[in-house]
């Protein structure tokens, strides 16, 4: 669906250099700390900024640094939610409906109305009276109603409470279930969101992809070891990739927790979530 190869963009001393792929039928997550380059990557794909170099293939068409502008039909294939933009505060969701229907040939007004009702968005109130959560829900609803093949979502769940987040994620899951060749590229800070929806994850740090793994492997094979200094020196460290010094010894990230469970039954081993992973990848020392 989307293939990014050697995408480069520099802002002063910030250099982005990203290669990644969103295959058809997959939900791909983009994680990273603030300022790592997630939004820059997404904006490059949408041609909101001009990359310095690299190729971006969307459905086989080149639209990167040297490529052509996205055509209207290509734009209609995308559904987009950006983190720091929204609709004019003086519009009502009903106005948004008319505008989207004029912009997208396949926009389904009935679906939009049904979604608004489902998400408890009042159709006839001005957006300026909306809470953060209601604005975020409206953005997602607007992106889902024109039968897009590809959703690009830059932090669609930020600022939402647990219940609304779960609801939004369920909409995305339903979107994926409807047709097989749909894909989503989603960035988020909330790791539980990503764990529960993404099929594969890219982690970006200082403009570079530092980690790429399927969520399934991440949750089933990766783990956290907690060991004293003595234990650390004794164990076979071939499957340890990062460590952080602690008062009791070391916290380590392993790519094969079952190896350590079988061979060192006395070690404290925990399942690792995406939060642990980000922390260890950002702050841990490289062991190899």
């Amino acid at each position: 669906m989307l293939k990014i190869n050697g995408l480069k963009k520099s802002y002063g001393d910030f250099h982005l250099d990203v290669s990644m792929e969103v295959p058809a039928g997959m939900v791909v997550g983009l994680v990273g700390s603030n300022g790592a380059g997630k939004s820059t990557t997404i904006k490059s794909v949408l041609q909101l900024i001009r990359p310095d170099a690299g190729s971006i293939l969307f459905c086989g068409n080149e639209c990167g640094a040297g490529g052509s502008l996205l055509t209207k039909s290509e734009k209609e294939m995308m559904g987009v939610v950006l983190s720091d933009s929204g609709f004019s505060a003086y519009l009502t969701p009903s106005d948004v409906k008319s505008i989207c229907a004029a912009m997208y040939s396949k926009f389904d007004k009935n679906k939009f109305t049904a979604l608004c009702r489902d998400l408890e968005i009042p159709e006839r109130k001005q957006i300026r009276t909306f809470s953060t959560g209601m604005k975020a829900k409206l953005k997602v609803a607007a992106a889902l109603c024109h039968d897009a093949r590809f959703l690009i979502m830059d932090e669609p769940t930020s600022g939402l409470d647990v219940i609304v987040r779960d609801h939004v994620l369920d909409l995305l899951r339903a979107y994926m279930e409807e047709k097989e060749d749909r894909s989503i590229l989603i960035s988020s800070h909330i790791s539980s969101d990503l764990e529960s929806i993404c099929d594969t994850l890219y982690m970006i740090k200082k403009g570079r992809i530092v980690f790429h793994e399927d969520t399934d492997i991440l949750l089933s094979r990766y783990g956290i070891l907690k060991c004293s200094e003595d234990q650390y020196n004794e164990i076979d460290r071939q499957y340890i990739c990062r460590r952080i010094k602690e008062s009791f010894g070391y916290t380590c990230l392993t790519t094969e927790k079952h190896f350590y469970m079988e061979n060192y039954p006395k070690l404290v081993i925990e399942n690792s979530g995406i939060d642990d992973l980000i922390l260890l990848m950002e702050k841990g020392e490289n062991v190899s």
Binding site: G25, M26, V27, L169, D170, R173, A174, M176, E177, E180, S196, I197, C198, D199, T200, D214, T215, D216, L219, S220, R221, K257, H258, M261, I269, N271
Partner: protein, 123 residues
């Protein structure tokens, strides 16, 4: 069919799904030729990655419990109960082998092990 996933368990999620489906087949809750939920559908229900579900379905197919027809879905095969029983016995045998090996390593006699087994079995 109800599948309950324990996400804090050390048992990989796909294995938990495989076990649940096998149990449902063994108990007759899932009948031969019945369709399993779609990959995306189950992923949505369980709030897990579709790849995890796919992996579980692949394993079920590999072990001969189901068959996947491309574009149609995954279906339960009619299975030979004796074969299932045999599989289960084999599985137990290999689990026990691990225990016996461990006992030898720790220098625990077979009689002690039998006592221990009785103790656990009575619980």
């Amino acid at each position: 069919m109800n599948i309950i996933i324990n996400s804090s368990s050390m048992v990989p999620i796909y294995e938990q799904i495989v076990e649940s489906v096998k149990k449902s087949i063994a108990s007759g809750e899932l009948k031969p030729e019945e369709a399993l939920p779609s990959v995306r559908g189950l992923a949505r229900e369980l709030k897990i990655s579709a790849l995890t579900v796919k992996k579980a379905y692949d394993q079920l197919e590999e072990e001969g419990f189901t068959v996947t027809v491309h574009g149609k879905g995954t279906f339960v095969l009619s299975i030979n109960n004796e074969l299932v029983r045999e599989e289960q016995m084999k599985e137990l045998e290999s689990d026990m082998q691990v225990i016996v090996d461990k006992a030898r390593r720790y220098d625990i006699s077979m009689d002690e092990l039998k006592d221990l087994f009785r103790l656990v079995a009575e619980d």
